[in-house]
């Protein structure tokens, strides 16, 4: 009997995976169950039809997953960035299009409103965002301002109590369906980064329209569009922070978003690993399961090792952000490492599947397409290397 008691105690220690608290494990479990039963079964179909899972957004909101960074007094759960990455990994493992929708809404749209909007604006938008009634998006990029975001040209000119918006934004995730946009616009053409301000812009604003959906390699169930502003008028109180603070707000927001995209990469890589392991245990060649060949064993071991490393980097960056400690470098490293290892994992998963992995019938074909963007959006791999090296080389 005492032997069993000791075994119990050992078991308890083991179950403290990565030092997750009881509620963090519950959040992960809820996300895992939801991802497996509600998200995964629809993923292939949504991808094939380019169908945005709006119904899923409502279900995610019901579980509290659309208000994870929104304080309780505005109807959110205030669960924090760490809890968000736990949930995001599970959702992305099932469907990366749903994952990016959730990530952008929480990290890029709700977060800067919580951080920088005035009280009126917070009360107006946050409760509806937490309920999933308002879906959020984020608009920084323009056709000629991608990695060089500070060169953006779209204008906001003050006119009485309003700002008049003109110009075009590009590459806007969730744009076709979103109801509320956090938009960075130039308020002072004589300055560069310091001439940019951030605004919360409602979809039904006069003079604001959404362009056609881009036809993409992956993330096909998530829309990417242009936003067109033609003398669109926005109340001055919808400005986030003060005039000229927009670029700073945009970068602070992206530090959080990058943790989310790194998490997306980990989620897709985990899906690649799960698929590879199960295929290696069922596919036979030369009279043996392919998992009995060292070539396959090594691929699987490498995938698992890299996922583990990336996940720990993501966890650390998220913990730092929750503690309001500097994390720009850590977020950049985590996103960069995770996205590159996930692309390798997807490549190897297709390789393990062989011809079957090249077919639309296989899930790894979708993972392979979906994962490619993680090395590009919310800062390319090249930009992240610049960010990281800047920390190391400045004095």
């Amino acid at each position: 009997m005492s032997g069993r008691r000791i075994a119990h105690i050992r078991g308890e220690k083991m179950s403290a995976y990565f030092d997750l608290s009881e509620e963090e494990r519950l959040i992960q479990q809820t996300a895992r169950d939801f991802a497996d039963s509600e998200v995964a079964p629809m993923a292939a179909e949504n991808d094939a039809n380019g169908q945005f899972p709006r119904g899923l957004v409502e279900k995610l909101a019901k579980l509290g997953f659309m208000g994870m960074l929104i304080p309780e007094q505005y109807g959110g759960s205030n669960a924090g960035n760490f809890a968000l990455v736990l949930a995001l990994e599970e959702i992305n493992r099932a469907c990366a299009s749903t994952g990016v929708t959730m990530s952008v809404h929480n990290s890029l749209a709700s977060s800067p409103i919580v951080g920088f909007a005035n009280e009126e604006t917070k009360k107006k938008y946050l409760p509806k965002m937490a309920k999933g009634e308002l879906l959020g998006a984020y608009a920084l990029s323009e056709a000629s301002a991608g990695s060089d975001a500070a060169s953006l040209q779209a204008r906001a000119v003050k006119d009485g109590n309003e700002y008049v918006l003109n110009g075009t934004k590009s590459w806007i995730t969730s744009g076709a369906e979103a109801d509320l946009f956090v938009v960075m616009l130039r308020t002072d053409p004589s300055e560069r980064a310091k001439g940019i301000s951030a605004f919360a812009v409602e979809r039904d604003t006069n003079g604001f329209s959404v362009g056609k959906k881009e036809n993409k390699l992956g993330l096909r169930a998530s829309s990417t569009v242009q936003l067109i502003f033609e003398d669109a008028r926005v109340p001055a109180e919808n400005m986030l922070g003060s005039e000229g603070e927009g670029f700073k707000i945009a970068m602070w927001t992206l530090d959080g978003g990058r943790i989310g995209i790194g998490t997306q990469a980990v989620g897709i890589a985990q899906a690649c690993l799960d698929a590879s392991v199960s295929y290696a245990k069922e596919r036979e060649q030369f009279g043996k399961l392919i998992g009995e060949f060292q070539a396959i064993q090594w691929k699987i071991a490498d995938m698992a090792m890299n996922i583990e490393a990336a996940r720990l980097m993501i966890y650390r960056a998220a913990r730092l952000r929750d503690r309001k400690e500097p994390h720009t470098k850590e977020a950049a490293m985590a996103k960069l490492f995770a996205s590159e290892m996930a692309n390798r994992a997807a490549r190897e998963a297709v390789q393990i599947y062989g011809g079957a992995g090249y077919l639309k019938d296989s899930s790894v074909e979708r993972y392979f397409r979906d994962v490619r963007i993680t090395e590009i959006y919310e800062g390319t791999s090249e930009i992240h290397r610049i960010v990281i090296s800047r920390f190391l080389l400045k004095n």
Binding site: M1, T30, G64
Partner: protein, 265 residues
């Protein structure tokens, strides 16, 4: 109405169960524990009754076991239970279903519960005895393996549709009662994030041997009428042999193998 829900912390169905070297228990190292599947139906049903009545009905989750089982109480709270009671004492270790039901009876007696819900069985040891034994210990009505509950207008009695061999049996039950829940009764909700955050702040009441007012000889292994003497795993499926070649040769080989190797002919 005051509702109690019995929940149990059991190994996840995906966990591969291995026996300890002495075959006296299962290896708990690396095992992931979850709420017993059938208990999820019990929690959901209790919450649905509370939501329907809207009269201050309370739902209390109760479990017996070592420290790790608290996680399952936390899950019940996160789903929406109002209170949770953790019954734990080193003396309870090794008790059988009947002994454990007696302990739980002592815990719930002073609570004046109208209804106690539980899963139809634990998916770990599959004894399916606790609910029944508890009803006996409390002297209340019991209805097991429920797939539907139909309440009377005054909510003092109900018709329970029980899943039995080849069909259903409908039983009229007066409160107080113990009802065990079967798959199909409802669709258990997820523990929502706000629920999880709220559950974090709720206190879990602890009850030990002194609290239940029993003697250590009446509980645990020493108080049990049955004793597990060992476990044995299912024998592994023997390797499958596939015969290849022309039908005439295959049949010859098959007859030979059945006669000489398997010795069944």
């Amino acid at each position: 109405m005051k509702i109690g829900v019995l929940v149990k912390n059991v190994p996840d169905t995906e966990t591969k169960i291995r026996l300890t070297a002495d075959k006296q228990g299962i290896e708990t190292q690396g095992v992931k524990y979850v709420m017993n599947t059938y208990d999820e139906f019990a929690v959901e049903e209790a919450l649905k009754i509370r939501e329907r009545l809207q009269d201050g009905t309370t739902v209390t989750a109760i479990t017996l076991g070592p420290e790790r089982v608290v996680e399952t109480l936390r899950t019940a709270l996160a789903m929406g239970a109002d209170e949770a009671i953790h019954v734990d004492d080193p003396a309870f270790e090794g008790g059988d279903s009947l002994t454990n039901a007696r302990i739980i009876a002592r815990v719930v007696e002073p609570m004046g519960l109208d209804l106690i819900l539980g899963g139809k069985q634990g998916i770990d040891y599959d004894a399916a005895q606790t609910c029944s034994a508890l009803a006996e210990a409390l002297g209340t009505a019991q209805a097991l393996i429920a797939v539907e509950l139909k309440w009377s207008e005054d909510n003092q009695s109900l018709e329970v549709r029980r899943r039995i061999e080849g069909g259903d049996e409908i039983v009229h039950v007066k409160l107080p009662a113990v009802i065990s829940c079967e798959k199909g009764l409802n669709e258990p909700r997820y523990a929502s994030l706000p629920g999880i955050m709220k559950a974090k702040k709720k206190e879990i009441k602890k009850v030990d041997l002194t609290g239940v007012g029993l003697d250590s000889a009446e509980v645990g292994a020493s108080g049990s009428a049955t004793r597990v003497v060992g476990y044995s795993p299912l024998s592994e499926r023997p390797e499958c042999r596939i015969l290849e070649g022309e039908p005439v040769e295959i049949v010859k080989e098959l007859v030979r193998a059945l006669r000489e190797d398997a010795k069944v002919l």
